[in-house]
Amino acid sequence: MPSYELALVLRQLPRPELISVIKRTAEAIFDKGGIIRKFENLGTRALPHKVSEHGVVHREATHFTIIFDSAPTKLSDLREEFGRDIDIIRRNIFKLEEPEEHKCTLHEEMLPPSYRKDVQEIIDIAKRKQKPKYNYNSGLDYYPFQK
């Protein structure tokens, strides 16, 4: 089972109710055969803009993330279930990925265009697309008759 991160934005609630909301979401994950790895509270703060959800306008919210393992086929069900919860403003599920080893390519990108590999490929494509010109075989570099 792959690991996922559930980023929840919860309605501003008193502490006991907040706990019950988190319990509800956690149980929903367990019911679908998932495993919870980690809880993370990102705190209550003002939203960057007002958000209208379930017929209420929210200006403050609690951010909460749950890291869990689950079958990928169950994700859409989970998303739908959290969508029905009135106390959840937003829910996003992201796949947890290890950062890949990557070598900086800035040096190659800063070269003049004709030295860059992607530009050279483009030039090659343009050359390939050029139509062959008809050769008159007259030995002259111009057309001797009126066109």
Partner: protein, 147 residues
């Protein structure tokens, strides 16, 4: 034409018959002389250019995120907001930020994720981060603006 070919054939025959004894020794006499010169040049002459990589080559350029080995993450809002315009909230392009292609893509992805999770505003920069140090100057892009 026939006469010419006959002439050439006769000359060639005569030359080969006579020259076997006279010309060949000369050829052999030349050959060792050349090889001797080469040998002396490689072993004795220290002024000869040597084949080494360019000692004056500069270190390859690296973008600021690769240099400090930072992978942008959507919860790291303070870092991400530095790549956002304080006036319009737009993500600055690669020609302004001076990042390599991969890192710029990662930053853009992380910013969009953070905005979807209501962690970051989309139309302005977070007021808490307005005084943050500038990583680059949008007035002086690395490459000219498209517009």
């Amino acid at each position: 034409m026939f006469k010419l070919t006959r002439l050439i054939a006769r000359n060639a025959n005569v030359g080969s018959l006579r020259g076997t004894q006279q010309l060949l020794p000369r050829l052999f006499a030349n050959a060792p002389a050349v090889s001797e010169e080469e040998n002396t040049a490689t072993t004795k002459n220290a002024d000869e250019p040597i084949d080494i990589p360019n000692p004056f080559e500069k270190d390859p350029q690296q973008c600021i995120l690769c240099k400090h080995n930072i992978t942008p993450h959507y919860k790291n809002v303070k870092l991400l907001s530095q790549f956002q315009s304080p006036y319009t909230g737009r993500i600055y392009g690669r020609h302004i930020t001076g990042l390599c292609k991969q890192k710029q893509e990662d930053v853009e992805k992380a910013i969009i994720r953070a905005q979807r999770c209501l962690l970051m505003p989309g139309y302005h920069k977070d007021l808490d981060f307005l005084q943050d140090p500038k990583l680059f100057d949008p007035e002086k892009p690395v490459r000219p603006h498209k517009y």
